[in-house]
């Protein structure tokens, strides 16, 4: 039963990783920006929800505030940091360092204003009950999976059915072509950042309800999203999401054999292995080199 318990826990975490990874992959695919501050959007969204909850806001209002903050952060990064750097032909590394700087600032600001250490909230959703002998499951498990599925269906519909969505996918494939057709790539990249960042909000809220948040949680989220994007294959949203799910499950199931502290090392070993032996990832068409 321990194995099943861990597996289900992994699926729950993995569903949330899948969301953040899809956001990262969407941004990277469409704008070629390696958005290392993606985890900061997660941190901010989670803490805004936490703030609303502790101040007795309506939970819908808190959730909307969380989404709004994540979107504002993503779009702000695009406008104020990434675009000025790209204007002067900054290399990818310039972008990386600038984004890393922002994530350090966010982490410490959150630490100063919200306090350090774990913070979580108790909702009726997080109370586990014994569904089978020795198998505990909280309602939040179903919520996480449902939310992840709904978000993916919505995202897929958006990308395939709307003009903006189709243009976003085209941007990922050939930005020059798009410019030739007179579509504004700058508005599209804002859209990519807005959407990608919005995807982290539900994951952040659900994480606040389950394992809890701390000021450094963004690092872990960023690393996992990045790992999932690469393992899944750059350019493939589905690949990133699936890899996020798999990494979540792997992190959890590995506990059957190893102690907790090895869990995240396991995901990074997977990442390392992919980069060494299959840099194009599971579904990637492009070769990294």
């Amino acid at each position: 039963m321990l194995f099943v318990q861990l597996l289900l826990g992994g699926v729950q975490n993995g569903a949330l990783y899948a969301l953040t990874a899809a956001g990262f992959a969407l941004i990277f695919g469409a704008t070629k920006v390696f958005h290392v501050a993606h985890g900061s959007a997660f941190t901010l969204a989670g803490y805004v929800f936490l703030y609303g909850w502790t101040h007795n806001w309506n939970s819908l209002l808190s959730s909307l505030a969380a989404v709004a903050v994540a979107v504002a952060f993503g779009v702000g990064m695009e406008r104020l940091v990434y675009r000025p750097i790209q204007r002067h032909e900054g290399s990818f590394f310039t972008v990386f360092v600038a984004a890393f700087g922002v994530s350090i600032v966010v982490q410490n600001l959150v630490g100063v204003f919200a306090g350090r250490g774990f913070a979580s909230i108790d909702t009726p959703l997080s109370n586990a009950s014994e569904v089978l002998p020795e198998l505990f499951l909280a309602d939040v498990f179903w919520v996480a999976i449902l939310v992840a599925l709904v978000m993916f269906v919505a995202l897929t519909l958006f990308l395939s059915r709307t003009n903006a969505g189709v243009a976003l996918r085209a941007l990922a494939q050939n930005p020059d072509l798009l410019r030739a057709y007179g579509l504004s790539s700058s508005r599209l990249s804002m859209l990519a950042f807005a959407l990608g960042s919005a995807l982290v909000a539900p994951a952040a809220i659900l994480t606040a309800m389950t394992t809890g948040l701390n000021e450094a949680v963004g690092n872990h989220v960023m690393l996992l999203s990045m790992a999932s994007t690469i393992v899944g294959g750059v350019g493939s949203l589905r690949g990133a999401a699936l890899a996020g799910l798999l990494l979540g499950v792997a992190e959890s199931v590995v506990l059957v054999f190893l102690e907790t502290q090895w869990a995240s090392a396991a995901s990074f070993l997977v990442l390392f292995g992919f980069i060494l032996f299959k840099p194009s990832g599971m579904f990637g068409a492009a070769v990294a080199k």
Binding site: I85, F92, F96, V97, A98, G101, F268
Partner: protein, 291 residues
């Protein structure tokens, strides 16, 4: 006061070694590693173990540290040969995270979270010596070596590979060998810094070898300017004096000094990249065409 400044100077020299060696990898070879603290850590543990179990001879400690860090740098060189850009940064982040877990779990070699304590003071021929002169000597030697390489054929080879790898290969240069050598040199340097750090602090634990530390060293390089000889040193001096400068600002509660310091690092990195991407001493025209 003298003790305070001598301690600060020693740390500046040690972090100066880290910064100039990382700069060699970043600036000349275009290998953007965010795992430099891993090799710093390997050197520190190796140096500490030598001092604890063999002899507190600083030269022996540094040599073993350089050897171990240099050989294990293959873990960094392999991905550097396979992928570039974002992928390599991701690989080095992965290496950093895995290594950190190993540092805290392989307790027999590293002492785990508690670390290694009571590392003896360095001695040469039975005489106790300070770490400061040793660190300055190592820093001076490394600067000299990097200067010589930068103006010599090896630096030219690395820069050629950085600018156009396939063209360099078409000239008969085995790219893999050059890259692996550059990585090994830089990581061996970080190992020496680690051994000196262990001897200086007489205590090491995993806290000093985290991703934050790697990023701090990277920030030193960036702030000073990649690809310049003295830029990273300026960066090391600036970032290491920041904590003491902040302690003069009495309105910051002592518990928040660490955070304020981090916020300043972070802001400095972001603002520099947006407004002055080549760093304080770097050539701002680099990477742009005037033609």
């Amino acid at each position: 006061m003298i003790a305070y400044f001598s301690n600060l100077a020693t740390l500046v020299a040690i972090f100066g070694i880290l910064a100039v060696t990382l700069n060699f990898m970043v600036g000349f070879a275009g290998i953007f590693s965010v795992a430099h603290a891993v090799f710093f850590g390997l050197g520190a543990y190796a140096g500490a173990q030598i001092a604890l179990t063999v002899a507190p001879n600083p030269f022996l400690a540094c040599a073993v540290a350089a050897l171990i860090a240099g050989v294990l740098s293959l873990c960094l060189a392999l991905p550097a040969l396979r992928v570039r850009g974002e992928y390599f940064v991701a690989a080095s982040l992965g290496l950093q995270m895995v290594a950190l877990t190993l540092f805290s779990e392989v307790k027999s070699l590293t002492g785990g979270i508690g670390g290694l304590t009571n590392i003896p003071r360095p001695q040469i021929f039975g005489m106790e010596v300070g770490v400061l002169p040793l660190a300055l000597l190592a820093l001076g030697l490394l600067l000299w070596a990097i200067h010589a390489m930068a103006n010599g054929s090896f630096g030219r080879t690395l820069k050629a590979i950085r600018d156009a790898e396939s063209a360099a290969e078409a000239m008969g240069k085995p790219v893999a060998v050059a890259k692996a050598l550059a990585v090994a040199f830089a990581c061996a340097g970080a190992g020496v810094a680690g051994a000196l750090f262990a001897l200086h602090m007489s205590f090491v634990n995993v806290e000093s070898f985290t991703l934050d530390q790697s990023v701090l060293v990277m920030a030193m390089v960036i702030v000073g300017g990649t690809g310049t000889l003295f830029g990273p040193l300026v960066g090391a001096v600036l970032l290491l004096s920041l904590p003491s400068a902040l302690s003069f600002l009495t309105f910051i509660p002592p518990t928040e000094v660490g955070s304020v310091q981090q916020i300043i690092y972070g802001l400095a990195m972001t603002l520099l990249m947006v407004f002055r991407p080549a760093g304080l001493l770097g050539d701002q025209n680099k990477g742009k065409s005037h033609a």
